[in-house]
Amino acid sequence: MTEFFQHAVNGLSVGTIYALIALGYTMVYGVLKLINFAHGDVYMVGAFSGFYLADLIGVRSPYDANPPGGLEVFLKASFVTLASMIICSILGFAIERFAYRPLRTRARLNSLITAIGVSFLLEYGFQLKPLIHSPIEFPPGPSPRFFPTLLERVPMDILGVSTSNYDIIGFTVAFLLMVGLQFIVYRTRFGTAMRAVSFDPQVAGLMGIPVNRIISGTFVLGSALAAAAGILNAAARPKIDPLFGLIPGLKAFVAAVLGGIGSVPGAMVGGLVLGTAEEFVAGYTDSSYRDAIAFTVLIIVLLVRPTGIFGRVTAEKV
């Protein structure tokens, strides 16, 4: 029985990461009807941003002879996280502004190809040998790096399930972010504008909504969340490399589709469900099929209920 709960906890841990990334996909799809293939790579950039920032501000390992105090740990960790989120927000803004916006009037296929291009650019750009060496070695190159330990890992055993303070903090941060996003989407004017644009961009524009700014804002929000996910994930699973955003990105997309693409609560639920499903299947059967789970879920969803759990069915007027 404890094994069951163990898998559940692990699943939630992975699921929150998927959920945070999925939110970016779903929001962008909602307003632009575009699958932002580059989103998984923004997540990767988030992790690397954290990596470089930690290096720059000199994070002292908690396992050193002279470990940093609680306040220092808290401040540095917060700074790294927030600064990464800001960096990725800017990145997301730039991608939308320069790669997607010019193609908004064109066929969607073109935007999809561009998204793929941006994704490749980030992935392979980061795999180049370092061009500058100080203050940081950038690009990082293809070899994996190890995310520094910002916080000492304290293993915990709750009701026979082994977890750690990482999981607790991870859940809390993710939860707070998601609550924050819910608030923004449903209680602020920006959020209402965002939802209006996702229903009908043309009419929203005619009603006086600055559509371009709302879309940029959507990208900014989504990218910030992806960065947070990158940091949270890297803290628990420190090995990062330029290509490591690909698979989580795809899985997060599946999560978004599962929850109903375009639906914010859907992305959260979808992420958690997918994470737990993955953990359970990998735990009880052959874990080498782990990645295929996501795609199988995807296909089942698309064939049985393409609009996902929370999606709305829109009929086309002929």
Partner: protein, 346 residues
């Protein structure tokens, strides 16, 4: 006599091709031959994908999966029959025949895979179809990676090197002829109709799902052919050869050439093959350059090189090939001449 003549017309391109290719194979230095081989395979891939993405306007991202099915099918056959010799024929001829059978089987199996993937998927629209086909491609790869019978992650090696200019060249001819004949036929027009307006096509009696599936199956079959050819060129068939990155590379070729343009796909496939080979020394920069090229092209010329038109429709070429002027041809899908035009000369 008429029957014989019509048979001749059907197979003429192949006969001419066979002669030309045999000659080329004899004289071509190996360095160039390899590049031509890759070019040929890419042309087969690009043109076959164009049938689904360009003609029918569906967005398939799973081409690599069908390549894999074809490659592994052919590999299993050539490996299994590697020492085999038919009763009357010599060893060399037998092995060529085995290869021919392997290619045929590769196409057949890939077609079946195309049907199995296409049937459920083609009910879905645009983006969803793209993702589902990508998913199926990855699932196929995942299955292969886990099957001992297929060599799991290391794949199958030691395949006989059968692909040469003749086989690849004939495959290219087969693919291009297929696409061209399809485009100037009623069935092809139905595909264009589906691309233009699916609702209207359905209302005019076109079984849209049926046609979409058929296009998908044909496209998959030729992808399988390409897969088999490449596997028997590098003598290897591994799952890593058929990732969704490969699918995307083919999509890029099709979009660059112009969705719906056969000649565009050919030109784009050849150009990109050469470019990628030439840039091979620059390794990592190669992919970055590729990515930038993609983005730039989408921003500046999204319709690709030729849009939906063909290079053989340009006035220069029309005069060269002594084709009638466009106006009297009648019935072009974005300026594609009808092969049965009344009063046309050939």
């Amino acid at each position: 006599m008429g029957r014989l003549l019509s048979l001749f017309r059907t197979f003429l391109p192949f006969l001419v091709g066979l002669v030309v290719l045999a000659g080329l194979q004899a004289v071509m230095p190996p360095v160039f031959a390899v590049i031509l081989l890759y070019m040929g395979v890419n042309v087969v891939l690009a043109v076959s994908l164009n049938v689904v993405n360009g003609f029918t306007g569906q967005f398939s991202l799973g081409h690599a999966g069908f390549m894999a099915v074809g490659a592994y099918t052919a590999a299993k056959i050539t490996l299994g029959l590697s020492g085999f010799q038919f009763p009357v024929l010599g060893y060399a001829v037998s092995q060529q025949l085995v290869f021919a059978i392997a290619l045929g089987a590769a196409m057949a199996m890939a077609a079946v895979a195309g049907f199995l993937v296409g049937m459920p998927s083609l009910r879905l629209r645009g983006d969803y179809l793209a993702i589902v086909t990508l998913g199926f491609g990855e699932i196929i790869r995942s299955i292969i990676e886990n099957m001992k019978f297929l060599g799991q992650a290391t794949g199958l090696s030691g395949l006989p090197q059968r692909s040469n200019l003749i086989w690849v060249g004939m495959s290219v001819i087969a693919t291009v002829v297929m696409a061209q004949r399809l485009a100037s036929s009623t069935q092809g027009r139905a595909l264009f109709a589906i691309r233009e307006d699916e609702v209207a096509a359905e209302a005019m009696g076109v079984d849209t799902t049926g046609y979409k599936v058929r296009a998908f199956v044909i496209s998959a079959a030729y992808a399988g052919l390409a897969g088999a050819l490449i596997a028997h060129a590098i003598q290897l068939s591994t799952p890593r050869m058929f990732t969704f990155i490969r699918s995307i590379e083919v999509v890029v070729m099709v979009v660059l050439g112009g969705l719906g343009s056969i000649s565009g796909s050919i030109v784009a496939a050849c150009t990109l093959t050469v470019a990628l080979e030439a840039l091979r020394e620059f390794q990592a920069y190669r992919m970055v350059a590729y990515a930038l090229l993609l983005i730039l092209l989408m921003l500046t010329r999204p319709q690709g090189l030729f849009g939906t038109r063909e290079i053989w429709d340009l006035p220069f070429f029309r005069r060269l090939l002594r084709r009638p002027a466009l106006a009297s041809d009648g019935g072009s899908a974005g300026a594609r001449p009808d092969s049965n035009s009344a009063g046309g000369t050939r």
